[in-house]
């Protein structure tokens, strides 16, 4: 295969990859800048304000490439909520109502008939020794874990825990 063909195959692959993400709607949660590249110090090419609709094209690390009305660029993933703005009629106020505890008041109603884990089921559960033995049989020791990491080119690095935010 020629270099040219390889190139074409690669860009086709990327295109397909990008298409898989195309059109996934999102909404800006807060004011943020749009940048030319997925880096905090990359050139600013635009801005988003809370409630702006975007199209999420792809993800890289903590960044989304988004398409907005006029421009395209990278924005911090955590400034975007997935989903469309329509549903967000109440979603625009979503964060506020969540913060005030609405989500915790049991408003989410469990639909009946779906096999799930209800509190009642958990309460009534009795000890399954056989299943637990099976679960414990899959245990991995530290050497195996290290080997698995090495196989995946995962390199451990020291990173401090994050302080709590008020």
């Amino acid at each position: 295969m020629s270099v040219m063909k390889q190139c074409m195959a690669a860009s086709l692959g990327m295109l397909i990859h990008a298409m898989a993400f195309a059109g996934e709607p999102g909404v800006a949660l807060k004011v943020d800048q749009i940048r030319a590249e997925p880096f905090g110090d990359a050139k600013v090419t635009g801005a988003l304000k809370a409630g702006d609709k975007v199209d999420i094209l792809r993800k890289e690390g903590g960044w989304f490439e988004v398409k907005v009305a006029k421009s395209k660029g990278w924005v911090r993933m955590l400034s975007i909520r997935k989903g469309d703005a329509k549903k967000g009629g109440n979603e625009a106020a979503g964060l506020l109502s969540v913060a005030s505890g609405r989500a915790g008041t049991g408003k989410v109603v469990a639909s009946t008939g779906i096999r799930g884990l209800s509190e009642e089921e958990l309460k009534a559960a009795s000890f399954n020794a056989e299943e637990l033995k099976l679960a414990e049989s899959y245990a991995v020791n530290r050497a195996q874990a290290q080997q698995f990491a090495t196989d995946g080119k995962l390199v451990a690095r020291p990173i401090d825990y994050l302080p709590a935010v008020k």
Partner: protein, 311 residues
């Protein structure tokens, strides 16, 4: 000294060290045993015994008399407050067995092995790598994950199916590892049932353990109890950091939260998760502020290719 006096004794210690959570969990007796190995009879762990037989009255008396004047004793008490690791594991063992009674493992050995490898690697980056960590995927469409003391962690098949890559799995497991290493569920037990049950010798046994069951309440109900919101935010921060320490993209867990908050809003499959955890949007908001730009320069792997996909 009888049992009542024993609790009064414990109460005095609590008052002295100024923390309501610092009551005896059997660890104190171990500490005393360790310090006075020759004078004390060996503890027989398999037989839950009344406490007075474990620590002779004269020893307790001695501690009480020294307490007001000896700050060293106070620090010892602080240090030993809470269960021993063995007790912690015994409690987790019982909860895990009960949880599996409610939802068995997905019968896919490759999946279970894979999840254990990712989990063990992530847990090895925590400050408690020596715990006997166990991970599993359980058969339910519910979207949730559970942690039991001592290192037992389960993800539901419903949640697993939402995941896109290994970094996301690492983030979810890291959140649960956070609950275990900060003993969030254990602290709930310490605040309630244990006082009623009293301190008994708890040991890991292969089977059902009645003494432990008394402490954890009915079945696996403990995993459906809500933790303090701050405990959840803390577990999120730990999940992010442990996955980043493990070499993964730090944004795995935030990505999952984003997905869950978006796709499963009013469905029954998230009812329990939403009841026991702050809403994903609120968690995202908190983790976003906590992470800030700290991870901009810390690239990591997502390993989407290696991610084990269930049929």
């Amino acid at each position: 000294m009888n049992l009542n006096k024993r609790w009064i004794f414990t109460g005095i210690l609590c008052a002295v060290c100024g923390t309501a959570a610092a009551f005896d969990f059997g660890a104190l007796k171990d500490k005393v045993n360790a310090e006075l190995p020759k004078q004390l009879p060996p503890v027989i762990p398999q037989l839950p015994q009344p406490i007075p037989q474990v620590v002779p009255p004269q020893i307790q008396q001695q501690v009480i008399q020294q307490l007001p004047v000896n700050p060293a004793i106070v620090s010892v008490v602080k240090e030993v407050a809470g269960p021993t690791q063995e007790e912690e594991i015994a409690i987790g063992h019982q909860i895990a067995g009960n949880l599996l009674g409610a939802a068995p493992l997905v019968k896919d050995a490759k999946l279970q092995q894979y999840v254990n490898r990712v989990g063990a690697w992530v847990a090895s980056q925590s400050e408690r790598p020596e715990l006997p960590w166990h991970f599993g995927v359980i058969e339910t469409n519910d979207i949730n994950a559970f942690a039991a003391p001592g290192g037992y962690i389960f993800v539901t098949l419903g949640l697993y199916r939402q995941l896109q890559n290994e970094a996301e799995l690492a983030g979810v497991l890291g959140h649960e590892v956070g609950h275990v290493i900060r003993q969030h569920h254990l602290k709930i037990l310490q605040q309630s049932k244990l006082l009623e049950a009293g301190s008994k010798a708890l040991t890991s046994q292969t089977g059902n353990n009645d003494a432990v069951q008394k402490i954890i309440g009915s079945g696996a109900e403990i995993v459906s109890r809500s933790l303090d919101k701050d405990a959840e935010f803390e577990a999120d921060r730990i999940g992010v950091v442990l996955s980043a320490r493990s070499g993964y993209d730090a944004y795995g867990l935030p990505g999952v939260l984003q997905q869950i908050g978006h796709s499963a809003k009013d469905e029954g499959s998230v009812a329990l998760l939403f009841k026991t955890h702050p809403h994903p949007d609120e968690r995202l908001d908190k983790i976003s502020v906590a992470m800030g730009a700290r991870f901009d320069k810390i690239k990591g792997e997502t390993l989407a290719k290696r991610f084990y996909r269930v049929k």
